[in-house]
């Protein structure tokens, strides 16, 4: 008998204990690995074997009222190379064997030739490409990254891929594109090219709607041919597309208006011009032209001051177009009507010491309120304005939406300046504010004033954005109620007087639109120089609406400092052409009756 048989139980016990301990250790380790640290280890393993890739969410489109795309996101590519790898030697390439076309043979292509090929694709010379490589290596001998070209389009991308150079890598770079160029460029704004940060316009103010969110995912791939292994994709973060922003703007009309405005701006040598087209019954902006206009595809080509929308951001003293507001206030307060009679001289010296002059000489003239508007008499308007207290007029200005930003909330929008209020107005300002000097408004605010008069005294909120449709299909539309500013009678009587201005004013032949009744008023305003005085140039303007019997559209034109034609005759043709186009485009039925006659004098 051998030894083992002597104490068999003891040996078995020892063995059993060892086994139990061993199994116990394994079990503990198993639980630890499989349960306790499972997720952390999984992540670690995934990270070790896979590379995270960015999944780009597309920034939302901006479309016009008809859905025509004004801004959209396209994929562009940055082409980068590795200088270190490039210098390592020739590129080996498989080419068809000249001896046997069915087979391929490997040839070595020297750097010079590769550089020339790459250069010709991205629009550089071979020397420039090699220059990039040597410059990067001079900076850092271990340099592994340098850009060859940025933001190239897909054609170039395909061409670069076709070259199959191992040390050249294209990177995706979402970019913004404005297919219609400068059409609406003043409104759209633009993005910073490098990182897509919105810098101006709707891109900035409506960024909450448009912004997308990039996601991140990773997956395992086979070693050799980089094929994605099924079931290994892990989405770390979902990508979200931005929402589609629909504007109230009509791109075709916007194009036409910009074209007319720019043509006239050049013809009269003006600094800038703005044209606003608004729906009279809704307050929707159909076109807002600011010339010169930025082409957001190439912001640098436009001077920095011209890159925004002056209609919103550049308040000016409106001048005589403002008289319509004062007239409506007077009628609304029951202190006058279109036939109210006054006698106005060319100079008026009210008791408080102010000094009011007309822009033309005339003796004491028996004006009706209609006549005051037709001849645009400052003295006559002052005599009517006196019938209200300053506070009453100020309150009406506020009710018309002056002195505060419009509902649009455009980026950089200015509220205009009413110079505090009646308490802070000096004696001259108290009168100047009756005919549009001594206070500033934006072009859009003036259009809104005329919208109110056209719409029976109800001011509709100004809107530039129709709706925002998120990627999930949810639509948020902005709707809000109008607000009565002056009585319907006051608005209608003011409208009737403005029709007489259109029919009898000195520009009647220039701005005539046959077949339609139009109400309009010109303005030739002095421009403050910022130091309490006035510049020599004028801001000439026309605001009006048509058809006057059932107003549909408001058009407001402002031209700054037209040196070759320093009067509202510069703005009248623009008004005429734009209003004609608007009426034609929207198939507006011509007016039937003639405008009511109102006597200008008594």
């Amino acid at each position: 008998m051998n030894r083992t048989s002597r104490y068999p139980m003891r040996r078995i016990l020892v063995f059993a204990v060892v086994m139990v301990v061993l199994v116990g250790v394994f079990v503990v380790k198993l639980v630890d690995v499989q349960i306790v640290r499972a997720s952390a280890l999984n992540v670690q393993a995934q990270d070790a074997r896979s590379v995270p890739v960015t999944v780009y969410g597309a920034r939302g489109d901006i479309v016009d009222a008809d859905g025509q795309v004004l801004a959209d996101t396209v994929m562009r590519y940055d082409i980068a190379l590795s200088p270190k790898q490039a210098m390592k030697g020739d590129v080996t390439r498989e080419v068809p064997d000249p001896a046997d076309p069915a087979k391929t043979t490997e040839v070595d292509v020297p750097l010079e030739q590769v550089a020339a090929e790459l250069g010709s694709v991205v629009g550089l010379t071979a020397d420039q490409v090699q220059g990039i490589i040597t410059a990067a290596l001079a900076d850092n001998p271990e340099s592994d990254f340098a850009y060859v070209a940025k933001l190239v389009d897909t054609t170039t991308y395909e061409a670069v891929k076709a070259l199959d150079i191992p040390w050249v890598v294209p990177y995706q770079h979402p970019s913004r594109r404005y297919p219609n160029g400068a059409v609406g460029g003043n409104l759209l704004g633009f993005l910073r090219e490098d990182d897509g940060e919105p810098l101006a316009g709707l891109e900035l103010s409506e960024n909450d709607c448009l912004a997308s969110e990039n996601g991140e995912a990773s997956y395992l791939h086979s070693l050799k041919d980089w094929v994605r292994i099924p079931g290994t994709e892990v989405v770390h973060k979902e990508a979200h597309d931005g929402g589609t922003l629909q504007l109230t703007i009509d791109a075709d009309l916007q194009f036409f208006v910009q074209r007319i405005a720019e043509e006239q701006r050049r013809a009269v040598g003006a600094d800038w011009a703005t044209v606003t087209v608004m729906e009279a019954k809704t307050g929707r902006l159909l076109a807002v032209a600011d010339v010169p206009t930025i082409d957001p595809n190439d912001p640098d080509a436009t001077a920095e001051d011209d890159r925004g929308s002056r209609s919103f951001t550049a308040p000016f003293e409106p001048g005589s177009t403002f008289k319509a507001l004062t007239a409506a206030s007077v009628i609304n307060a029951g202190k006058g009507d279109p036939l109210s009679r006054i006698t106005a001289d060319y100079r008026y010296l009210p008791p408080n010491g102010a000094n009011i002059n007309d822009s033309f000489f005339h003796g004491p003239t028996p004006y009706t309120m209609t006549g005051v508007l037709i001849d645009s008499s400052n003295t006559g308007m002052s005599i009517f304005g006196e019938r209200l207290t300053d506070q009453q007029r100020y309150d009406d200005m506020l009710k018309f939406g002056l002195g505060e930003r419009t509902e649009v909330g455009f980026s950089g929008e200015e509220p205009g300046d009413l110079h505090g209020g009646p308490g802070e107005w000096d004696n001259q300002t108290k009168y100047a504010t009756m005919f549009g000097q001594g206070l500033t408004t934006t072009a859009v605010q003036i259009a809104s004033v005329y919208q109110t008069l056209a719409n029976g005294g109800v001011r509709m909120p100004v809107s530039l954005v129709d709706s925002c449709r998120t990627a999930d299909g949810e639509t948020t539309a902005t709707t809000s109620e109008g607000r009565r500013v002056v009585s319907e009678k006051a608005a209608d009587e003011t409208s009737a007087m403005l029709e007489r201005v259109y029919a009898e004013g000195w520009l009647a032949d220039t701005w005539n639109i046959p077949g339609y009744r139009v109400a309009a008023k010109t303005g030739t305003a002095q421009v403050p120089d910022g130091q309490g005085g006035y510049l020599s140039g004028y801001l000439v303007s026309v605001s009006g609406f048509a058809p006057a019997d059932d107003p549909e559209f408001v058009v407001s034109v402002s031209i700054m400092n037209p040196v070759k034609m320093n009067s509202s005759a510069a703005s009248a043709p623009v008004f005429q052409e734009v209003m004609s186009q608007v009426l034609k485009k929207y198939r507006t039925v011509p007016s039937g009756a003639q405008a009511p006659e109102l006597p200008a004098t008594w």
Partner: protein
């Protein structure tokens, strides 16, 4: 001594009817030979599972390559679609249309004239559109259509091909496929639909 016949203790009387506690074990049934069939089935089952798994795995892998192929194709088509959409957007931009219209000799007419059907009245001043309107291109710029040829700049009688023009590998400078303008189908009068 009487010859008493030696008597053994009588065997306990067997009670009839009472079963015996012990009985001979029945002859063991011949143990069945382990059936080969079971083993074969089990092994074959395992083998089948292994093979099935292998085949599935191969199929999935094969599928992965196919998926990859399609994904690459899709990415390529997406790029192509984007390219075409960009071209389309470019050529339908108002600047390009206006430039083409001007190149074809068209001028905008700023004098709208209306014919009222109810009484045949003509409102407006019928006036011929005058030439001499300034060219649109510089008024409303569009960097995207720089270098895109107008319809009139294509050689006549030759429809530009869909492909890329050689050497046009710039950012926005590719040739846009544009159709030669078809002559309007007019023979002396405007075509009128036959209605009753």
């Amino acid at each position: 001594m009487s010859a008493v016949p030696a008597q053994s203790i009588p065997a306990p009387a067997r009670t009839p009817g009472r079963p015996r506690w012990l009985r001979p074990a029945p002859e063991a049934v011949r143990r069945a030979k382990p059936r080969l069939a079971y083993a074969i089935i089990a092994v074959a089952g395992v083998a089948a599972i292994v093979v099935a798994q292998l085949l599935l795995s191969i199929a999935v892998t094969q599928g992965a390559y196919e998926v990859d192929k399609y994904q690459i194709a899709q990415a390529k088509l997406d790029r192509q679609q984007q390219q075409l959409r960009e071209d389309l957007d470019r050529v339908q931009s108002p600047q390009y249309l206006a430039a083409n219209a001007e190149a074809l000799g068209m001028v905008p007419n700023a004098n709208p004239v209306f014919l009222r059907l109810s009484d045949g009245a003509v409102t407006g001043d019928p006036a011929a559109a005058g030439a001499g309107t300034e060219a649109t291109a510089p008024l409303v710029p569009n960097a995207l259509i720089d270098g895109v040829p107008l319809v009139t700049e294509h050689p006549t009688g030759e429809t530009p091909t869909q492909g890329k023009t050689p050497g046009a590998a710039g950012n926005a400078g590719e040739a846009i496929p544009a159709r030669a303008p078809a002559p309007p189908p007019v023979d002396g009068s405007l075509p009128t639909p036959a209605t009753h």
